[in-house]
């Protein structure tokens, strides 16, 4: 499996290329539940933990996702794309969790409290995390699928059940929102 680090490294080395087809072309397909866990647990974890602040909640969601997948493995086995199937389930579970436990309020970054303190993370990434979580559900999830999980726009569209053009617009709005949120903090940096 192409790991996220490898994907990011490849993107850095070949910035002109969209690396998402590489992931798609690997054609990963689990033949049993054990393989399903080995192949996709990291990917699902990255998607969920990008959005859910509490680690315990993220773990619960990942457990729920694989519980459903293993229970319905006779369907997953023959799904067009097992990864998309799992991500779609993870997306729904994450929304359920966030709606249950977290109140998401859009607000400017200056007023945000940086709740999670992790010394290993750079200030920039921490701010990005907070800004990402302040986005509306769909925008945040589309951004994570695109830039954390490395899906192409078409694949993101399939997972979030929207057309490619609608997804593209969603991503565009999300990028603008992130720029707006982070430009006061990093005027010279990433968000140009």
């Amino acid at each position: 499996m192409i790991g996220q680090n490898q994907l990011l490294k490849s993107r850095v080395e070949h910035p002109s290329k969209d690396m998402t087809p590489v992931i798609e072309s690997t054609g990963l397909r689990a033949r049993n539940p054990e393989e399903l866990v080995e192949l996709f647990s990291d990917d699902i974890w990255r998607f969920v933990s990008s959005q859910v602040p509490r680690r315990e909640d993220a773990e619960d969601i990942v457990m729920e996702v694989f519980s459903v997948a293993i229970d319905k493995f006779h369907k997953v086995r023959y799904a067009d794309n097992q990864r998309h199937w799992l991500l779609a389930i993870a997306r729904n579970k994450t929304i359920d969790c966030l709606r249950r436990h977290y109140r998401r309020v859009e607000r400017s970054l200056e007023n945000c409290d940086v709740v999670t303190v992790n010394e290993e993370l750079t200030e920039r990434h921490e701010a990005a995390r907070v800004a990402l979580r302040a986005l509306p559900f769909e925008q945040g999830q589309a951004m994570v699928l695109k830039y954390v999980n490395g899906l192409s726009t078409e694949e993101v569209a399939r997972v979030i059940n929207k057309s490619a053009s609608a997804t593209n617009s969603l991503l565009q709005r999300a990028r603008v929102a992130l720029r707006t949120a982070l430009s006061p903090v990093f005027p010279q940096e990433v968000i140009k």
Binding site: D18, F66, A164
Partner: protein, 327 residues
């Protein structure tokens, strides 16, 4: 904006968001729990597969491709009828057939069909391509590409009909019409269930299940609710099982078979139309009627070809001959 073109800010956002997950890999204790859950899962038991269809692998796949066009009218439910109506309009499709043998071996065969061409590819390297004017097949054992020219004077409809009839006749081991008739008799209205529309893998679908409790056999179909076309068909019997995954949404491009031929491939050509022009006797001699006494063996240009792979060709030619006779 074209969604296929990467956004110029992609790299910046990748850098920005790469650390948003708590970690790049799932925590080991979580993975351990998942593994335990996966290992302890009781999967739904599946019937063992019988090698019934393995007898004529390539022919069988063509057969199944054809069967989509004449799927059984076993249910009177409105939605099932919709499916049958929808499949009658199909000209462009791809399908993957998965056959599981009793030994757990999985054979996968792919079929692509466009407006004027059907391409069949087996996992043993055997390949068959049926076009408007020719039929070509490649045998990996002998590394031979045989082209059967059907003739420009024949219409597409006639060719299609001939191919269907020919293939159906050629595959005596699995008579599709008989099988479909059995379906119709076996699964009545009482045994047919049609589900509500639901979202599955991001696609709105419904399910049609034909279940025979007496013989423990079933046919289950997953139907795309937008097109009413099947995207998954499973035929499950106590001793066999076939799964067919279909795709009607994407435009199918069938590449000429010559493009993927290995080096040193031997080429054989047979011009059926010329044979027919020269007289029905010639065609009869070349195909079918002139079986040379070695079982089903057929000689072309003095060389004996594999009788199994040539069987359907022979029957097809016979059908073509009959069609030409009518004209």
């Amino acid at each position: 904006m074209n969604p296929n073109i990467p956004h110029p800010d992609d790299q910046a956002f990748i850098d920005l968001l790469k650390e948003t997950p708590t970690s790049q890999e799932a925590p080991e204790d979580l993975k351990r729990k998942l593994r335990v859950m996966a290992t302890g899962a009781k999967l739904r038991t599946r019937s063992r597969w019988a090698p019934r269809l393995a007898v004529v692998t390539v022919s069988c796949v063509v057969l199944l491709a054809v069967s989509m066009l004449i799927w059984p009218t076993s249910a009177s439910a409105k939605s099932f009828q919709k499916v049958i109506d929808a499949t009658n309009l199909i000209k462009n499709f791809s399908l993957t057939l998965i056959e599981e043998t009793t030994h757990g071996k999985i054979n996968t065969i792919e079929v692509k069909g466009s407006d004027d061409c059907i391409d069949v590819q087996g996992d043993q390297g055997l390949r068959l391509q049926i076009g408007k004017e020719s039929l070509k097949f490649y045998e990996p054992q002998s590394n031979t590409l045989t082209s059967v020219k059907l003739g420009e004077s024949m219409g597409t409809d006639m060719i299609g009909q001939a191919i269907q009839e020919g293939v159906l006749k050629g595959v005596k081991q699995v008579d599709i019409k008989k099988m479909l008739a059995e379906f119709r008799d076996q699964y009545g209205d009482k045994s047919t269930t049609i589900s509500d529309i639901e979202s599955e893998d991001g696609v709105r679908v419904y399910h049609i299940d034909l279940q025979d409790l007496n013989s423990k056999s079933s046919v289950s179909m997953t139907i795309d609710a937008e097109t009413d076309l099947p995207i998954l068909i499973r035929v499950e019997e106590p001793d066999s099982k076939i799964t067919i995954r279909l795709n009607f949404r994407d435009q199918v491009q069938v590449e000429p078979i010559e493009k993927s031929m290995p080096k040193g491939v031997k080429r054989e050509e047979v011009d059926v139309s010329k044979m027919i022009e020269q007289g029905m006797a010639s065609a009869g001699k070349a195909f079918g009627n002139s079986s040379n006494g070695h079982g089903n063996g057929i000689r072309l240009n003095g060389k004996e070809l594999d009788p199994k792979t040539m069987n359907e060709i022979r029957e097809m030619a016979n059908t073509l001959r009959k069609q030409m006779k009518k004209h």
